[in-house]
């Protein structure tokens, strides 16, 4: 029975190292510990200088995403027992610039997310007196899956297109655009389609499909992007065949 397990953690302290290097830490092995628990043990007992993001410890906040043995994972859901006998390689999410140790800069994603207008767009707001925008369970069901996204960015770290083509809007942002397109209360789908038909939009995606595999919330961004492509192509054909039709 293993008493301890080794974590090989990528360190990057820009004032010390010109590029990231691994540092090994031996931590107690506990069956109910996840990688995040081990990182917190290191921070509290072995090396207080280790930097990483975390918050909820229960797969809701989406801040503890890291590469665990080369795969994007929420470290709060990656059990040490699945990586026996170790060592476990922990690195910052790939394809993002590293700020320090395991902390990456996500401002590129935030900029792109804002571009697809992930909120309910109305041409005209209903007067308050008319009450709320109602929705049937069936209408909710159409987009619910895509609304489960927690912006953890594991899908970006799994997407080689995002790594190779910096302008690509990326899986989560497109899935969230689709979430609002499918919402019966929303009227902004034309706007979003224009943004996402540009270079860096949905057509950059070549359907590698890894984003869907790593998603901890089963959002299926790859599916969202392909459905978006089908919808865009259909609309283009319609406008070609019936230019007089309503837009």
């Amino acid at each position: 029975m293993a008493e301890t397990i080794t974590l090989s953690v990528a360190r990057y302290r820009p004032e010390i190292e010109p590029e990231p290097a691994f540092q090994d830490y031996r931590v107690p092995y506990r069956k109910d510990w996840v990688v995040l628990d081990a990182l917190n043990y290191i921070k509290d007992n072995l090396d207080g200088s280790l930097s990483f993001r975390w918050s909820c410890r229960m797969g809701v906040c989406g801040s503890c995403g890291m590469m665990v043995n080369g795969t994007p994972k929420l470290t709060c859901a990656a059990f040490l027992s699945d990586y026996l006998p170790g060592p476990i390689r922990v690195e910052p999410l790939q394809y993002f610039p590293v700020v320090r140790d395991l902390v990456v800069d996500i401002s590129d994603f935030l900029r792109k997310l804002h571009k697809v207008k992930p909120w309910i767009e109305r041409e005209e707001e209903k007067p308050l007196a008319e009450g709320e925008y109602r929705q049937t369970p069936e209408q909710l069901d159409r987009y619910k899956q895509f609304s489960m996204c927690i912006n953890c960015l594991l899908c970006y770290a799994a997407c080689p297109i995002y790594g190779l083509e910096g302008s690509f809007v990326g899986p989560a942002a497109i899935a969230l655009a689709q979430r609002y397109n499918l919402d019966s209360r929303d009227q902004g789908s034309r706007d979003r389609m224009e943004t996402l038909s540009e270079q860096g939009g949905m057509w950059e995606c070549t359907f590698v499909g890894e984003c869907t595999k790593v998603c901890p919330k089963k959002v299926d961004p790859a599916g969202a992007i392909q459905q978006y492509k089908v919808a865009t192509a259909t609309q283009w054909f319609k406008s070609l065949l019936m230019p007089w039709g309503s837009k």
Partner: protein
């Protein structure tokens, strides 16, 4: 270079790793994806062979016999076998991915993936059956 890149509190230096040209050898799913993309070359090759065959057919029985003779060369048999494997890989992965792009709703509920896949395979079988029927009748 080093002087320019030195870290100061007000000019933090983010570290960016370049993506290697060999990124697709990093993991099996990536390699499989690149193979799937490569299948397009073999699909194009199949289309060219078909065009070649049609041209031979149009040029008369002698030309067609010549075409069949060419096809018997060991090099082409090996090439065609490899192409067949890739084209099958292309079709099967395509059908398996279809439910991701096609959301079919019946009575307000989304059809499960296997139903969309089987419908695709069924359509494939029916079309192939019709082609075989037409060919055998002739």
């Amino acid at each position: 270079m080093t002087g320019q890149n030195r870290h100061t509190p007000y000019h933090p230096r983010w570290y960016r790793r370049r993506v290697s040209v060999w990124w697709w050898l990093q993991s099996w799913p990536y390699a499989k994806f690149v193979l799937r993309e490569l299948t397009s070359l073999f699909v194009a090759y199949y289309a060219l062979v078909t065009l070649w065959k049609l041209r031979a057919l149009a040029a008369g029985p002698q030309a067609y016999a010549g075409f069949l003779e060419r096809m018997r060369s060991p090099l082409l048999i090996v090439l065609n076998s490899v192409a067949l494997i890739f084209v099958l890989f292309h079709s099967i992965t395509w059908f398996n991915l279809a439910p991701k792009a096609m959301v079919v709703r019946l009575a307000g509920r989304r059809l499960p993936d296997w139903a969309v896949q089987s419908a695709n395979y069924l359509a494939w079988a029916i079309v192939s059956g019709v082609i075989v029927w037409v060919l055998r009748r002739g």
